[in-house]
């Protein structure tokens, strides 16, 4: 299988080492704790192991068997076949972090291109090589802002309309900074407030304001005025994006964002039950030395040929140790590659087309659902491909009924917001046909009467 040693080879090697047996190699391990009896199932052959996981996988229902209207941070998009064909190349997936640039130019140039594509999409100057996911990228924005002000500004403002899981992650990441307060998303704040309510909480102690675009409820706001006000008190603005929406929408770089973070999963990465995904992190060039995570830069070799290296590494944990602002080592290499391939394939017109398809189908769905007695659209703001529907019954019950019709219903907002009981967040993508949307409406109609 994976261990190639034959008996004669093993004997020869032990002899070269000067020991009699494999056991002799482990004399430093305290005898009382050596060779525990592990209660694990006996080894399976590849054929049996594959049969076992296949049967586990078949105990799930998935987004191709069901009609999926579930989003809330992870989206069902089409992934062109070429993406996975390239990801399966051992040259990419069995390599590690490009520590030796002369034999890692493939990974390095791919990351460099990923960085370029992300700057193009977000309208920012620079992008790092990626973080773990949208949640940790958001948390890293908080960490960066805290250190940028050297701990002298102690407030981060974040509204409830930012993804609840991102807010939770941010709070975990910053729990060690005792003097820092994360405010704006208290339980009494109306989750559907417009972002202007943040204005009166801005002060000279504010380090960072984090908003989402489109927000967790799918709404699109123009943050120009907010960004201006934030900059007037000397603070930074981070915008959490859905990168796919930027195929259509104005990039946050245009309305004054200092940091753009987001979940890269919509760009060619499978749902995969929540991970691995891709944390996008882009900013302005003046903050290049302040960001965490790997960066690839262009340079030349001794012969003058163009090449790429990991750069500004003195910011990172292996050099700065306890003075580093983040402990991140790796990036999300293979996922960054997937999104670079996806963006290259779709290109300028393809990404716009997918974003428009999402927009059009979501608006058709919203229009139709809004017309069903008992259902209403409770948000009156422009939206991208997700919207909030107020249901006549508990969302879990509605979804149970939808599931009987083979439909994976929307997200139950009552799980995160007590004031949004009976509110469902519906996502529509290019994958949903008109027929499927009509089917959803029919099924919803059935739950409205009784």
């Amino acid at each position: 299988m994976f261990i190639p040693h034959t008996d004669p080879e093993r004997a020869e090697m032990l002899q070269a080492i000067g020991v009699e047996s494999l056991e002799e190699l482990f004399k430093d391990v305290p005898e009382a704790y050596r060779y525990p009896k592990l209660n694990l199932p006996p080894a399976l052959s590849e054929m049996e192991a594959m049969a076992q996981v296949t049967s586990l996988s078949q105990a799930n229902e998935h987004a191709r068997e069901l009609i999926c209207f579930l989003g809330a941070g992870a989206y069902n998009h089409y992934i062109p076949a070429a993406v996975d064909m390239l990801l399966r190349r051992g040259e990419f997936y069995t390599a590690y972090t490009p520590y030796q640039p002369e034999i890692s130019q493939g990974t390095l140039q791919a990351i460099f291109e990923y960085q370029s594509l992300i700057t193009a999409l977000t309208g920012m100057d620079i992008s790092n090589a990626s973080h773990y996911d949208g949640a940790t990228a958001t948390a890293e924005a908080g960490v960066m802002a805290y250190h940028y002000f050297r701990g002298k500004r102690n407030k981060i403002l974040i509204p409830p309309s930012v993804n609840p899981q991102y807010r939770a992650t941010l709070k975990t990441y910053l729990a060690g900074y005792e003097s820092l307060n994360i405010v704006g998303d208290e339980a009494e704040v109306d989750p559907l407030s417009t972002p202007d309510y943040l204005l009166n909480q801005l002060d000279n102690n504010t380090a960072l304001v984090i908003v989402q675009y489109p927000d967790f409820f799918g709404r699109i706001f123009d943050y120009t005025a907010l960004a201006k006000a934030v900059h007037e008190v000397g603070a930074l603005v981070a915008v959490v994006v859905n990168p796919l929406s930027l195929g259509l929408l104005k990039p946050p770089g245009q309305f004054g964002a200092d940091i753009v973070v987001g979940e890269g999963q919509p760009l060619g990465i499978p749902l995969s039950f929540g991970g691995p995904y891709l944390g996008i992190f882009a900013t302005r060039s003046e903050y290049a030395h302040k960001i965490s995570g790997r960066l690839v830069g262009e340079t030349v070799d001794v012969a003058g040929n163009r090449g790429y290296v990991l750069t500004l590494t003195a910011r990172e944990q292996h050099i700065k140790r306890e003075k580093a602002t983040s402990n991140i080592c790796t990036n999300q290499g293979l996922m960054a590659l997937a999104s670079a391939i996806y963006l290259s394939l779709l290109g300028k017109s393809g990404l716009r087309k997918v974003a428009e398809l999402c927009y059009q189908k979501a608006h058709y769905a919203a229009e139709e659902i809004g017309a069903i007695p008992g259902y209403s659209l409770c948000v009156n703001a422009p939206f991208f491909h997700e919207f909030v529907v107020c249901c006549p019954r508990d969302v879990a019950e509605v979804n149970e009924h939808l599931l009987e019709h083979g439909i994976l219903g929307g997200y139950d907002l009552g799980r995160d917001y007590h004031s949004l009981k009976n509110h469902m967040l519906i996502a529509v993508t290019e994958m949903n046909t008109r027929e499927e949307i009509d089917l959803l409406c029919e099924a919803l109609q059935e739950v409205s009467h009784d």
Binding site: L312, A314, R315, I319
Partner: protein
């Protein structure tokens, strides 16, 4: 290694040049050589700040290393070398001249006595070079 005799040196490799009650501070030739090619200098204090020994004055990054510049004296910052941000390489080429970093108005001149003179500093560097 160049160690001008008119300067005082700290254990963390800063040099101090005293003129009246103004101390000019930078890093030594030995320190720049250890760090190799400096690519980034950030002075983290501002004019008017009060500083004391051990406070961080600046952060330096080379391709392979990072270091903080510590304040060897107490007093008030009266001038900082803003040009360094654009020309970090002068820390390597001219550590005692163009690469001065911060000027401090001294609050306590007796602190200078805790610093080393050039010959003790050279000895101190030689000990660490093994």
């Amino acid at each position: 290694m160049n160690t001008p005799t008119n300067l005082k040196y700290s254990k963390t490799d800063e040099w101090v040049n005293v003129d009246g009650n103004i101390a000019t501070i930078g890093i030594s030739d030995y320190a720049q050589d250890q760090l190799s090619d400096i690519v980034f200098v950030e002075i983290v204090v501002a004019v008017g700040d009060t500083v004391k020994p051990g406070d961080t004055l600046a952060s330096l990054e080379s391709v392979k290393a990072a270091a903080d510049v510590n304040c060897p004296v107490s007093g008030k910052v009266v001038e900082i070398n803003e040009a360094l941000a654009q020309t970090p390489e002068v820390v390597n080429s001219d550590p005692y001249g163009k690469a001065w970093m911060v000027k401090v108005e001294l609050a306590n001149t007796s602190e200078l006595e805790t610093l080393m003179d050039a010959s003790s500093y050279e000895k101190y560097c030689a000990e660490r070079s093994h």
